[in-house]
Symmetry: C2
Subunit: 460 residues, 2 copies
């Protein structure tokens, strides 16, 4: 077996500590073996035809190795590829993306292609900052030890005036929410100018902090062209407010790295929204969300949306739990072929996972069953749609967080606003969620892997 005159499959190869490793699902129009060859060739040193210009150094020192495969059918399966460190331009993340997540997606003979996970070596990680304001620092701002954080997105998404908007935020803070954020499609529209909204909302947060004696977080959405974002960061800093939100997936990696440099310099808490990621993290093409998540932690966001496992957004509890671990732990146990063993370098601090999308107070217990207590639980409609409105929706959500922290099951809560919320939207038991995760973990994953991506997706 060979591609362009060379064979990249080498089952005796053991990945080195300094290698980059990827695991891919592939299905195509040629044999599984040939697809494996083509992926390794196109993402490293090869092409479709034999070259007069190929030489020994290139071949021996820089090529990729397919060191393991799991064949599912004659034309599909999982491919493990290792890349030598010197193949890459050291700290150049974009060049690495262009190699391992690049032209291979354009190959005609491929019908499905998904990078399920990847490992970057410690040597590489050490060059990056990681979160400067991580879980520990966020807890210090709010003043909590262990309870989950709760917050809201002001709704409707767009259309409220700055004053109306800040009034809703005020109620949310006063009701006991730790955090308020802009929605992803609100920045600086004519009906709600950004500066006015920010000033009014900072006032609301400060007032709530004074009255309640609790720290508050307001992350305004600064996402825009880079000069505009810098202007907004300066404005916030001048107003003594070192917190903001960026929408990392729509920005892309180069922009995210650039703006984080500015934000780290000024010691900002950086909330990361991920609008649009599903365009390449769902279905049989693209990457698993964990692929991007590792980059976002490496570059140093403080909080990252990682799904709910319950609510209106996709993602099974098991996947969401793994995303939670990748965000908040230093060492992650693999669950192959979906997740590889992974270790963060010591300098890359934990970031806070954020659950958001279709949540309401009755789901808080279920969310913490997935994530543990190091999580920020955001609700929009589930706060403002409360029968008594925003203030009481906030009280209900805060009560849910307090109850969960004390080990009280939410269907036994003494809080009347929480009781009302549960009456309207229902309740999901944490025990049920834990059982579901356990049952998925007990599945013979190797056997399921044999069913291909479709079978694995059913876990999702």
């Amino acid at each position: 077996m060979a591609y362009g005159g060379y064979s990249y499959i080498d089952k005796n190869y053991r990945p080195k500590k300094t290698d980059f490793v990827t695991i891919l699902w592939v299905k195509g129009e040629s044999t599984f073996e040939m697809l494996s060859e083509a992926l390794a060739a196109e993402s490293s040193v090869g092409t479709w035809t034999k070259l007069a210009t190929m030489n020994d150094f290139v071949w021996k020192k820089l090529r990729a190795h397919v060191f393991k495969t799991i064949k599912v059918s004659a034309n599909s399966g999982y491919v493990y590829i290792a890349y030598p460190y010197d193949h890459f331009d050291s700290r150049n993340l974009l060049q690495i993306l262009a190699s391992i997540r690049g032209n291979i997606y354009g190959m005609k003979e491929i019908q499905e292609l998904k990078i399920l996970d990847w490992v970057m070596p410690e040597k590489f990680q050490k060059q990056f900052p990681g979160p400067k304001i991580g879980i520990k620092e966020i807890r210090k701002i709010i003043g909590t030890k262990s309870r989950p954080h709760v917050g809201t997105i002001v709704k409707p998404k767009v259309g409220l005036s700055a004053k109306e908007w800040a009034d809703v935020a005020q109620k949310a803070f006063m009701g006991g929410l730790d955090m308020v954020k802009d929605d992803e499609n609100l920045v600086n529209q004519t009906f709600c100018p950004w500066e006015e909204r920010v000033i009014r909302t900072i006032e609301a947060a400060d007032k709530a902090k004074d009255e309640l004696g609790e720290g508050k977080i307001y992350v305004s959405n600064i996402t825009d062209s880079i000069p505009k974002m810098i202007e907004r960061i300066e404005f916030l800093d001048e107003h003594g407010w070192k917190q903001c939100m960026i929408d990392v997936y729509v920005m892309g990696i180069a922009g995210t790295e650039e703006i984080l440099r500015e934000l780290h310099k000024r010691k900002f808490l950086v909330h990361a929204h991920r609008a649009g990621h599903g365009a390449e993290t769902r279905g049989p093409w693209g990457v698993g969300f964990n692929f991007w998540e590792k980059i976002y932690r490496l570059l140093g966001v403080s909080q990252l949306h990682t799904g709910t496992g319950v609510g209106k957004m996709e993602g099974s509890p098991l996947f969401i739990q793994k995303y939670g671990e990748i965000a908040s732990k230093q060492k992650i146990k693999g669950f192959e072929p979906l997740f590889l063993n992974f270790k963060w370098a010591k300098n890359i601090k934990p970031m806070m996972p954020v659950a958001s999308g279709g949540l309401h107070p009755g789901l808080v217990e279920g969310v913490t069953a997935i994530y543990g207590k190091d999580v920020t639980i955001m609700a929009g409609g589930g706060i403002h749609g409360h029968p008594k409105g925003t203030l009481y929706g906030a009280k209900a959500q805060r009560a849910a967080a307090e109850d969960v922290n004390k080990g009280i099951k939410l269907n036994k809560t003494q809080n009347i606003y929480l009781q009302e919320a549960i009456k309207k939207w229902g309740y999901v038991s944490g025990i049920e969620i834990k059982k579901r995760i356990t049952s998925i973990k007990k599945l013979p994953i190797k056997k399921i892997a044999k069913g291909g991506l479709e079978a694995l997706d059913k876990l999702n």
Copy 2:
């Protein structure tokens, strides 16, 4: 039918000149009508539950309208959505992405979702620069009137030393190629330092220009973190070389816009590679490539990879022809539901489409049958894999471009090196390609649309 208490379907609505319009393919777990509602709601002013905070202004002035649908089955079809201008933050491209290409991809009830095309209003386009060095200016640099441009990527992709690399480039230029470029995964590795490669290759280009009396293009890959890219742009400018390559999809939109600002200021020719785009432009999730292409022209790249229609990369001739038109024309005729009618604002100049991936001299006629003559045809293995090596591969490719320009069919060529290339790799007739496009265009597209994305994909 309603979602979160409101209905967004309004078949009497006629999109305004200032509206943004998208067309989406959707398939899901609820009815097609409910999916249409949910997409419009989540991408504009709504959410999953009725809100106490919704008001008349928001509803009347800012909501999205589903103004047309093509139902394919009970739970799938095409949805046309119009968004009012004021919904958006004017020039903030990222906020628009977060709205129309944002959270909707995370909705649990959706099984497939693809934005097939979009229209941005003239009022919006006028705020952007478009290409500063476009087709006309590129032809002036090289000194051509009508013939297709030809170029090469030095191979193997990575591993040659700077000297070896520049020697290959030198042969390519001397053989008559107009352009040489770095491959996407070569930037500044230890075995081939960027500065040395650039200096040596500029020398090679200058020498070829002097000897042959023809302009030459060398686009080195500067893709990296933004400060590194700025350094490299300064370096090139100091060496009097106003040309470079950026890898736009791995960079992302914020980084691409930022670096183009710098490149426009210095009047650079900007070659845009698109490694990795297939992760979201293939399969049933994501966007059509035309979605991104319109942004890249808007922001102002000079040359953009848009596929081959032949060779190792995916994409049927019809799709590639449309991508070619979006790059090089001011007005594009729709082919619904795949492509909408579209008009560029006057200030947005044409950019040069680039065909690259598995090409060789025998395919040059086929490529121009798709694109016309305003195209740059790149070949890697198809040059360096020539039986006589790079210099003669280049001669063969240049001869193919000259023959095509004169209307000579390549299987009748008098050029012996081209004859050798065709003997090795074969020949695809332009007439055959044109017939294929015509036959696809004659298909009853409305009937095919009824077969859903899968049927449309078969055109691809």
